[in-house]
Symmetry: C4
Subunit: 211 residues, 4 copies
């Protein structure tokens, strides 16, 4: 149970940091961290909590079906299925789902293309893109109101131990081998999105340029 407490604290620290940036507006967003592999168990955000407060009901432990491991009055976040896809298909240890203005606007502007690409921007190194010609692609999927359908669409883009997927007008989900890496991917994504939006104000033709 020491592992459980440690992971809880790690996830709570990430939550505090993201909520300081106001990245959970209107109780949006959810977070998860893996506690054990066999059997698969992970902590996930309880539904309907104020993420600016730190309480001992912020998360609950769920199993490989996304069901609570123990009896509880807490309800796992409606989007637990997306986190589940990540832990079933990769070695990721932490996954974060966050709504920001920037990721929502980017997802709408580039939504019809199904992806946004970045090249020649130093911050793509956070995704282990080190060469001058490397290209980072972040897919954008349709926001199905039916969560199992959304989870299937999402699953097609879950292939590596780190990654990021935009859901159109519904935020981003990122993952990494641990909380540090997931947070790094998230911060780099948000930086790139805001950079791109600002740049479009001055170089509007880029909106139509596919790398």
């Amino acid at each position: 149970m020491i592992m459980l407490e440690e992971r809880w604290r790690e996830l709570a620290d990430v939550k505090d940091e993201l909520s300081e940036r106001d990245w959970f507006m209107g109780t949006s967003g959810n977070l998860a961290i893996k506690v054990s592999d066999k059997p698969l168990q992970f902590l996930v955000t309880a539904s309907g909590k104020d993420k600016r407060k730190r309480t001992n009901e912020d998360f609950l432990l769920v199993d490989e079906f996304g069901h609570p491991v123990e009896e509880t009055h807490l309800k796992p976040s409606a989007e637990t299925l997306l986190h589940l896809e990540i832990y079933q298909k990769t070695n990721a240890g932490c996954s974060l789902h966050v709504h920001t203005i920037d990721n929502n606007v980017i997802s709408e502007i580039y939504g019809d293309r199904g992806e946004i690409t970045f090249k020649g921007q130093e911050l793509i190194k956070a995704f282990n893109k080190w060469e001058e010609d490397d290209i980072l692609k972040i897919p954008i999927i349709h926001n199905f109101a039916h969560i199992p359908t959304l989870a299937r669409a999402f699953s097609e883009h879950v292939k590596e131990d780190t990654g990021a997927v935009l859901i159109r007008n519904h935020g981003i989900t990122v993952w990494g081998r641990n909380a540090f890496e997931a947070k790094k991917i998230l911060e780099a994504s948000e930086f790139l999105f805001r950079y791109q939006l600002r740049l479009l104000e001055y170089k509007p033709y880029q909106l139509f340029k596919v790398v």
Copy 2:
């Protein structure tokens, strides 16, 4: 009196949170929370206070006419009448009036239409809009300098236990069954406004598209 203290603390916490975001610029804004139903009594912001400080003169208890329950040197906020409309017509327990750049700009851009609508944006779920085709409408009313006139115009849009009304160039008033819900409605509204404003920079034709 335990209820009174508890509600005071709740409202003071909301005030602290909103003032951290600088949502009370120039001493603007006011807040209220219901303490009892029969007789109707609620706490409301005292006039002319610095909302970044937490003191025991931040709020005062008023009755069903918006008058102080006890003799006091404190003056209820000039806009107490708007809060009163909410508690008289619904089961709301908390109401918040806040000026932000985003809500002021939205209220001016969409003011002539009398409302702003949102569709296909995940955050409208905060308003209990769960279906893919659901539409959220937030009315925008004229900013009458005469407060009783303003309160009457406002009252026409106060129908449910949760809601939001924009006053042109004069902020937003939101309400919910409790402080948690009022804050959720406020945060979701602000998110949607900023999202819409940013989107308009890249998809300007949307300014003229009515959903």
Copy 3:
């Protein structure tokens, strides 16, 4: 000396609040608060300090010529002359000079006209403009590098106990009867500037409309 300590603490509190908002970038900005009328003495920012730190060398007491009252190694801010104009010509008790992106951009865009006007925006009430047709005018003066010349140009607009003057590409100076009022004027000004800049993005023709 109790008055001196009290005023010092008040001014230090204002400094802390403004520096949290990053309104003193690159060691810019300066603040003053009156300590006595006869003889005129006021505390003013010492030159070249990091305004994000709170030390007992942040301010020094100066006289009706802007000279240090006691021998000191501290140098009064180069713009002490502007604060002096305020205390000599009005009953103001506190004055604040702050550079923000918004006030600098507004001062450049509207600089050729020599002023910016606001009407129909609720926040002008902070300037005691309560009627629906009231107009707020904030003058914009040329940024003379020679401080005595700048002080003379500034002085022409110092007529009342509260006020605000923009210096082109050189921030704003506001004043009020006390620290609370000066801060209110400053916050309302910054709100109005940002509001106007955002609005111009959507209603660009307003750039050419003089109220």
Copy 4:
């Protein structure tokens, strides 16, 4: 070793301040401070750390070749070579490399010209430009993925004890005689960049005007 501890604390304070502004997104950025001249030794950011946390492994001491002075499991930042150029060619005591949205966007918009210039903006005084006609030039260099090549391109612009160089889509590097001055240069640069970007939204022709 007292000097070493003092410099460490100074650099950690700067790191805290910049990280509060979110200027190290995605683990980007690095900082250095000189500890001794003969032999040249300076503290520099250890690679791959979360800069929002303050730990005793945040920095390590390196020599005139950028190699660790003592055996350690810590790796100096990949960009230590750039800091080294500064300490070898000038009397600077502190150097900061930071990625912000503003400095990245400016570096891309003005990148083809190889520099950005400022005139008539009060904040250039932070660079000791005091006359009304003074011009500040900040060079923009190509972002070579090969760090020694980048360091050579960077070195061409390292001539004085204070300065600033933009790397295209790769942030800014600033330096000054001590931590206070380096931070002042950084803040003034960021202010000027954001000012220029905002101004371009309203005066787009300035994009094509070379001072």
